[in-house]
């Protein structure tokens, strides 16, 4: 047989275009529908924006190092903390979580891809569009500084309204086109999140391997499911709130404009109906990662698996019932305050249960102190600290002193860095050998986690004090007489230590990437299905469909009784792979054009309205072509390591 007979013929698409199957290089990445490649792109974007947000906050910390400094202007400070929050949550943490969902969920459930591969690509490119719209505002701010650009609304070009953009500061009267970038950016990111979540739910519910019942799912996948449900029910509230705000800004409607009867408090309710579940959207996947790492390195099953799963679901459910605890100082009235106070305390119970069960998992095990395990144990400590200040907030009258101070900042950074970031980096250390096929060596990872833990405690520990000593958050500077100077310097030094630790993590990752592939299928002697695949996994993941006979299937396959061994199902027809597509990317481009142009339109830049409409037309066209293109597909025969067209 000549090579030609194996050559892959790309499938025809609409408009005489070829589907870019079997391309190589950047075309392959731009048009891929492979969940692993999409996951990697999400991950790279997340790490990139993590650095961007980090640089933003280091500028903030320098400004606050001493009283009455003027290292950056007040307006720039406001823009930095707004973009720091928005970037870290929507462009740092969420894509990193999406990266793990994308890469790991199909592997953990024994599937060859997600349920809707092109929808997955759509989510990725729409996410990229949203990130672009938010951050392109820095470019225009630069143009403004050079004097090339002077929009209506003046210097306020990068969003400066805080990450929760409380009305009415977001209306045209009080802020410039920064708010437009913020509205369109978040709106587009919301579309991406909802689409991705719908996809994950269908994937997890429908594409499980035979024998993998719901109560045998790895906890990370369970948390992915709960998180996805939270996203599809929470994001609509934000989308509508942003839609109303967008109408206020573009068409001067009256949703939040006070002089016309608009109620700013409505924004807060709508935002936190989204915003509180969002907190759990971030923390539940982190808990899922921890629930994978702890059993793997304690060499023991998760303690109380059903209770961990159930408490995750309860947290998700209760997460919708506590939003007003962000608003204890807005004059809710006694009854509402009391109700939300008690519900908030109630949510501490399932959270506590998880911590008990993690301790129970370690108990009686044989703990291997690998880097991911140190992150996981560190997570339990740090998350517990964040949880405690959370309980303190739930007592509403005490919260009246803490709300909007550095105490709150300390609280949510313990939860986000001590919790989410520790878990995500632990997850990176745990899964990067699977993703890259290369194995960690050396001690740098241990040093890094040490610096991260010390740095984060030095940074956020003193912030508790600062808050209780009366320092409000989001202040550009403070008078020398307040006495906040010493602690703030301490915090700044801590922040640099933390940043140094994180930098070491990045260096460690770069070192890893330059190594030879040595990881093998199962470097950790782990428990779940993803470790049965090659490292990195082949494009089709599994050469045959795995058949599951127990929870922690792979562990029992390796170490259990013969009847616990996994089976493999192969119909011998070859593996059906979906075709690649240009149209998700096209839709993403349309969204980016639309968001940027409409934001500039509200700054009075000529012709931008038309370009915005052109963007919408691109989106509509892309969607239509996508639908009529169909999923396509071709077959691969893994045994021969060749594939051919399905004709």
């Amino acid at each position: 047989m000549s090579d030609d007979s194996h050559a892959l013929k790309p499938e025809k698409s609409l408009l005489g275009l070829m589907r870019p199957d079997h391309s190589r290089g950047w075309v392959d990445w731009l048009t891929t529908v492979d969940h692993k490649k999409i996951g990697i792109m999400y991950g790279l974007a997340g790490l990139f924006f993590f650095i961007v947000g980090g640089i933003e906050v280091m500028l903030i910390r320098i400004q606050l190092a001493q009283p009455e400094l003027n290292f950056i202007s007040a307006q720039a400070y406001n823009q930095l903390f707004t973009m720091h929050g928005t970037t870290m949550i929507f462009l740092g943490a969420m894509p990193l979580i999406a990266a793990f969902f994308n890469f790991m969920v199909p592997l953990q459930i024994g599937a060859r891809d997600v349920a809707f591969p092109r929808l997955n690509a759509f989510s990725l490119w729409v996410f990229m569009a949203g990130a672009l719209v938010l951050n392109i505002s820095w470019l225009f701010q630069l143009f403004y500084l050079f004097g090339w650009f002077d929009p209506i609304g003046g210097k306020d070009i990068v969003p400066s309204v805080g990450w929760f953009g409380y009305a009415p500061i977001t209306t045209t009267e009080f802020s410039g086109i920064g708010s437009d970038f913020w509205v369109f950016g978040l709106q587009i990111l919301g579309i991406a999140s909802i689409a991705a979540s719908l996809n994950f739910i269908v994937t997890i519910l429908n594409m499980r391997a035979p024998g993998l019942t719901m109560m045998r799912l790895p906890v990370f996948t369970w948390m992915a499911l709960v998180t996805s449900f939270l996203i599809i029910f929470a994001f609509p509230a934000l989308t509508i709130a942003l839609l109303e705000l967008m109408f206020d800004r573009l068409f001067e409607t009256n949703f939040f404009r006070v002089e016309q009867g608009g109620q700013p408090i409505l924004w807060q309710h709508l935002f936190w109906v989204f915003g509180h579940p969002e907190v759990y959207i971030l923390i539940l996947p982190a808990m899922g990662i921890i629930s994978e790492i702890l059993p793997a390195f304690s060499r023991k099953p998760l303690f109380g698996y059903p209770i961990i799963v159930f408490s995750g679901a309860v947290i998700g459910f209760l997460g919708f019932a506590v939003w007003s605890h962000h608003m204890f100082t807005t004059g809710l009235g006694n009854i509402a305050t009391a109700a939300f106070s008690l519900l908030t305390m109630a949510i501490a119970v399932p959270t506590g249960v998880k911590i008990f069960n993690w301790v129970g998992t370690i108990w009686g095990g044989r703990i291997k102190f690998t880097v991911p395990m140190i992150y996981a144990v560190g997570f339990i400590w740090m998350f517990m600290m964040g949880g405690f200040s959370g309980i303190m907030h739930s007592a509403a009258p005490a919260d009246a002193q803490q709300q909007d101070t550095y105490f709150v900042v300390a609280h949510f950074h313990y939860v986000i860095i001590g919790g989410i970031v520790m878990a995500l980096f632990g997850g990176l250390y745990y899964w990067l050998p699977k993703i890259t096929g290369k194995m960690w060596e050396g001690k740098l990872g241990y040093w890094a986690v040490g610096f991260v833990v010390v740095g984060l405690n030095l940074t956020f520990g003193p912030m508790h004090w600062l808050g209780l000593l009366g320092m409000p958050r989001r202040t550009h500077t403070y008078l020398e007489e307040t006495g906040f100077g010493t602690l703030n310097l301490w915090v700044t030094i801590g922040a640099f230590i933390l940043a140094f630790g994180l930098l070491m993590v990045f260096i460690d990752m770069i070192i890893l990437l330059r190594k030879k592939k040595t990881a093998g299928k199962d470097p950790w002697d782990a428990r779940t299905l993803e470790w049965t695949t090659d490292s990195p996994p082949k494009v089709y993941n599994f050469h045959a469909t795995p058949v599951i006979r127990s929870r922690d299937a792979y562990w029992y396959h390796k170490h259990g009784t013969p009847e616990q061994k996994m089976g493999w199902e192969d119909e011998g027809k070859g593996i059906h792979m979906p075709s690649q597509s240009w149209f998700p990317l096209l839709i993403g481009i349309g969204m980016a054009v639309m968001g940027t142009a409409l934001s500039l339109h509200s700054g009075g830049v000529p012709f931008m309205g038309y370009i915005g409409i052109a963007g919408i037309v691109i989106v509509a066209l892309g969607s239509y072509l996508w639908v009529f293109e169909g999923p396509g597909g071709y077959h691969i025969h893994p045994d021969e390591e060749t594939s051919d067209d399905n004709s």
């Binding site: 007040a74 209780l468 320092m471």
Partner: protein, 410 residues
Amino acid sequence: MNRILKGMGKFLGLIGILLLAGCDYQSRQSTFDPKGPVALRQLELFNLTVWVCTFIFIFVGGALAYAVWKYRERKSDDPDFKPKQSHGNPLVEIGLIVASILLLVVIAIPTLDAIWYTHDTPDDEASKLGAWYQGELSEGAETEVLEVVVYGLQWWWEFQYPQLGITTANELIIPVGKVVHVELRSRDVLHSFWLPKIAGKVDTIPGRANSMWIQADEEGHYYGQCAEYCGESHAYMLFRADALSNEDFHKWVEHQKTPPKAPDGGDDWGAWISSVNANPDSVKGDDVLEGASLFYSKTCVVCHAIQGAGIAGIGGPDLTHVASRKTLAAGWLDNRKETNDESGDAEIDPEIQLENLTRWIYESENIKPGNRMYIGSVGVQNGLNTLKGTPNEITEEEARKIAIFLQNLK
């Protein structure tokens, strides 16, 4: 940069002391030093939560530390050892759930009690105006406690006393030991009224009236600050509260109700204005008079009000007794030498006050970026920046003259 280096030295010296004595570390906005019943109750509740959390921390953290130590893999261990694959223990689980619910109940009950206590203005007979206030009151006010309407504005505070007919700015004066009912409002964006030593914060929200009650148990000068992000100069939106003895409070009210003297020293502002109109040159050579006429001609009067002078501008702080205020620019500029005074005894230093007033008029943008006096309010009133290059531009010399005039508004 020098400041950072100097601070570094200070930091290294202090780090040990702070570690030892963290709890004693105080500031003038500290919530650990309550001077009123509301703040006290809030602190007590906070302390309770700290105790409960410490208890849980010792229990869970101890278990975690023990487990991590006890079950670690030692060098001598067989690397392939497989511990017993146990799946959980329902009794332990249920026990822990019940225990955590019980601990939360310990917090929940005092929380509920405190929610009602800190929010509902107490019906305190001794605090009702009829019981202690001797001056003139609005109708029906005898049976009410003192009411202050607080307006949070970008980026300053307005305090109105509807029962007494007084309006002032940035410095809240309250009688010591009396319940004061505070109504919180806003005309622009969200702000939050926070006097840490007296009471926790409540937001001021446009289109809505919030309320709270405060009471200061000790005479003194209290420091407060806006706690809700409200735009560019949020950090510069401070305020002060003075708790005065009954006698001093009466004196203060009387003083507030008396219009300030006209620039020429007389009582009749109208007469002075017509004399200046008749003879504009009569102000020449006298800083107060020149300042006063500049105050009129440079459009200050559009936004600022001076009672008794027939000046009733809206949008900016009422300047009727501006010279009697200890601070300027919403607390950012202090007119006293002893800037950290908490007793309330520190006096205004006229030289510092003059310098502050001059700077504030001449270069307010450098003190409080984005302030309305500088940038104006779009379509309503020009700010000082739009006056630049026009005949109405204020020079530093003119600013000083206006400041001298304002210093007369005691």
